[in-house]
């Protein structure tokens, strides 16, 4: 009897999957011959509004105060909501706060009255005050690593660093249940955008006495469109629509189920076989080897979008031969970025010559538009050779010493490193060996300046050039190059304390000039793109300027 049942099941599955496979193929073909077809998809919503995604890694935490990575912040975005939200086009729109006023350094947020926690309690201004002070409180265990995202608030840094002990001096105050007053240290043009960031999410005050609250669906009380229902380590995570959410009528999905698999090839196979509705970044990965074929196979499902992150190499400016700026410039000019993008990285990245990526706001337009990176020189093999000869002479060398390029274990880093090293060999005759290192070892070596050239990448924390520029001050923990420049430090400081956005931008631009044009401390390679596969019946997946994923407003069409 049982065996019969199994047989029937297998047969059914077989039949079903053949049909599905055929469907999948049809979609692909239709897409490649006539891209317009995608638009004529059914306008009717699918009956089953369960959205299937994959997470390439286990979220390390679901406590907004602790989150630092793309995966946990993507999940948190479904569970929680900050004072503001970002819409499809990146505009700041009301979230829990229905309106706000700004007067210089002072913000007043008016919370909507129908905002509720998943257990039915109202979301109050006190919850925000509690949550933000919890992040800053030096006694919070474990210490929230992203606490510095709140340092724009008056006295926040002092309180977090135990310079003052009185929490009431921190510039956040619940005037009443529905009014939150925030005072900043300096005028910060991007502060409003920060209030949609995970570290700024409110938490329910019941978490005070329960350090493990965020690991358990029964104690994870959230205020967003969804609530956590299942979380099995290493297996799956599931969230369900919360009927307490104030804007529940505009939430179409009933459920989001996420598998946790970190094999890119498996993820794509799974997507192709129909087990997933969305694959790829920022919560997953698409193998570079498959990008070319996906581009021709499913062009209307593959979405590639530029994001505010930069991929670059660091030079160790304290040791030979890279203590010489001309040698650094020679290596920078000796590679062909477009060839690397077209043949190696393949995800339509943009060649990079500066540090700040496109998509970061400047004064009126994007910073990169106002300050094009073309001024930072161009690729030129002959100039590179001349620079190398001059640089060698200046350093008193007759030929280049042995050079090693280090990167952390990853197929894409490996390919790019090999291709770049080969280009250096062709144009400069430089013999560079590549070495991949285990993550922890790699970071340690980089931090201790125990390298010559090292891979690096950096993504925006907030929508302002400063998120990149302040990385290379002489006191920054992220400056792994040995570069120290008093004027650079001064310019950053100036930009920090200035209330005039124009002057800030000018200072940051000057700093970037010093870093790249005058000193070539880093070798910019490309500005990242976010690459994703989305089934044609999935509508309204949002990837913001920084590559953060928002799937709360997704709709599944009939298919």
């Amino acid at each position: 009897m049982n065996r019969k049942k199994l047989l029937v099941l297998v047969t059914l599955l077989l039949a079903l999957s053949t049909v599905l496979a055929a469907c999948g193929q049809n979609n692909g073909n239709a897409g490649s011959t006539n891209q317009g077809n995608a638009g004529t998809q059914s306008d009717k919503l699918a009956a089953d509004q369960t959205f299937h995604i994959n997470l390439a890694s286990e979220p390390p935490t679901l406590d907004p105060a602790q989150s630092q990575d793309n995966v946990s912040s993507a999940v948190l975005r479904t569970l929680f909501e900050g004072l503001t939200l970002k819409d499809k086009d990146g505009n700041i729109v009301p979230g829990v706060a229905e309106k706000w006023e700004q007067k210089g350094k002072e913000y007043t947020f008016h919370l909507r009255s129908d905002a509720k926690w998943s257990n039915g309690d109202p979301v109050t201004a006190k919850d925000f005050e509690f949550a933000w002070k919890r992040v800053l409180d030096p006694a919070t265990v474990p210490a929230p690593p992203y606490a510095y995202q709140l340092y724009y608030i008056k006295n926040a840094q002092a309180y977090n660093e135990k310079k003052i002990t009185d929490a009431s001096q921190v510039g956040v105050k619940a005037v009443d249940d529905k009014t939150l007053k925030v005072t900043l240290e300096n005028e910060t043009p991007y502060f409003l955008g920060l209030t949609s960031f995970t570290t700024y999410y409110p938490v329910h005050q019941s978490v005070k006495n329960n350090p493990k609250w965020a690991a358990d669906p029964s104690t994870l009380i959230s205020n967003g469109p969804f609530k956590l229902t299942t979380w099995t380590t290493g297996q799956a995570l599931e969230v369900e629509k919360s009927d307490k959410y104030w804007d529940a009528k505009n939430i179409t999905l009933n459920k989001i189920t996420a598998s946790i698999v970190d094999q890119a090839a498996t993820e794509v196979s799974s997507y192709k076989s129909g087990q997933l509705d969305l694959a790829g970044q920022p919560i997953g990965e698409i193998p570079t080897d498959q990008i070319a074929s996906l581009k021709s196979e499913v062009p209307n499902e593959l979405t590639i979008k530029g994001i505010a992150s930069t991929y670059y190499y660091l030079f160790n400016t304290t040791t030979k031969p890279f203590d010489n700026v001309k040698i650094r410039q020679a290596f920078t000019k000796a590679i062909n970025r477009q060839a690397l993008i077209d043949n190696v990285t393949l995800a339509n990245q943009l060649p990079a010559f500066g540090l700040v990526p496109p998509g970061i706001k400047g004064v009126d337009k994007a910073y990169r538009e106002e300050n094009p990176d073309t001024v930072y020189g161009k690729e030129d093999a002959n100039e590179a050779k001349t620079l190398l000869t001059e640089g060698l002479k200046e350093s008193g060398l007759t030929k280049l010493p042995k050079i090693t390029l280090i990167y952390n274990t990853n197929d894409n880093h490996k390919k790019l490193a090999l291709a770049i090293v080969d280009m250096w060999k062709q144009t400069l005759g430089a013999e560079v060996t590549v070495q991949n290192q285990e993550w922890g070892v790699f970071l340690q070596n980089r931090r201790n300046l125990n390298y010559q050239v090292a891979r690096a990448g950096f993504g925006a924390d907030y929508d302002d050039p400063m998120t990149f520029i302040d990385m290379f001050t002489s006191t920054s923990g992220n400056n792994d190059t040995g570069f120290k420049n008093a004027e650079y430090d001064k310019l950053v400081k100036e930009a920090y304390s200035s209330n005039d956005n124009k002057a800030r931008n000018a200072a940051m631009k000057k700093a970037e000039d010093i870093l790249i044009k005058d000193n070539q401390v880093i070798l910019p390679i490309y500005y990242y793109t976010n690459i994703q596969l989305v089934k044609p019946y999935v509508k309204d997946v949002i990837v913001d300027y920084a590559g953060q994923l928002d799937i709360t407003r997704v709709k599944l069409m009939e298919h």
């Binding site: 999957s17 965020a214 698999v261 196979s269 799974s270 922890g440 924390d461």
Partner: protein, 310 residues
Amino acid sequence: MVRYITSKFLYMLVSLLILITATFFLMKAIPGNPFMSEKQVPPQIRERLMEQYGLDKPVIVQYGQYLKNIAQGDFGISMKMQNKEVTGLITDTFGASLKLGLVAIVVSLVVGVLLGLLAALYHRRLIDNVAMVLAVLGIAVPSFVVASMLQFVFAQKAGIFNVMGFNGPLDYVLPVAALAAQPIAFIARLTRSSMLEVLHADYIKTARAKGLNWMTILFRHVVRNGILPVITYLGPMTANIITGSVVIEQIFGIGGLGKVFVSSISNRDYTLIMGVTIFYGVILMLARFLTDIAYVFVDPRIKLTNRKEG
């Protein structure tokens, strides 16, 4: 028997202590800490984290503290997966590894011994050759290649099975096949080689000459003696399969303990590394212990009180 088991148990405790000590200092000797990331955490906050997890103290003090904690049954909280207890993480993920592993072990044993036995009985004949070709293929093709191919052919193209996930009984088929291929091959060859030896042994000839029923000889003498090397292999194999299925688990998206362990090492998640090491150590030692016991039961020539000096 009781004395035997007690002494074995004491040995196990001592070994465990040595294992803990060795792993602890080894782990501390490699560079890095749980709070490193591409974006540096400000030094103030990092120091506070180090202090909160007791990582600012000298290693020897940390070691003492750790021993004290585990003596009280406290394996601590993961340093990377915030708010999750090490014991919880292990029990959450080991279930999948165990289920997959046990099925793979049973399949390897049954199929492997059967193939090996058939090959030995029909030595140098067709069955022998076919069995050995299968065995050699199982050894010759890397398991992650087998896994990827199975996944592509049977899941992505044919759609008979799920590409990933581990829910229904059907989800076992592909990963078990990939996982068992090599042990099957190994066991088949081991069984064949050892059965051949036994079949040529004098006592088998004697038994046949005495006119004993062939089936009786086969099961009472040949299999019982010929299976000894397989039993020896059983301990390491069990440990290998249960602890070493990382790649297969990853390819089929099964969240097992192996994956947690590998990532705990690259995360320098100290408490989790220690927890899993101890857990694996105990499993391994138990597997070896059971192997020894099984040996005694199967092989009448080995006595528990074997203290004969050479």
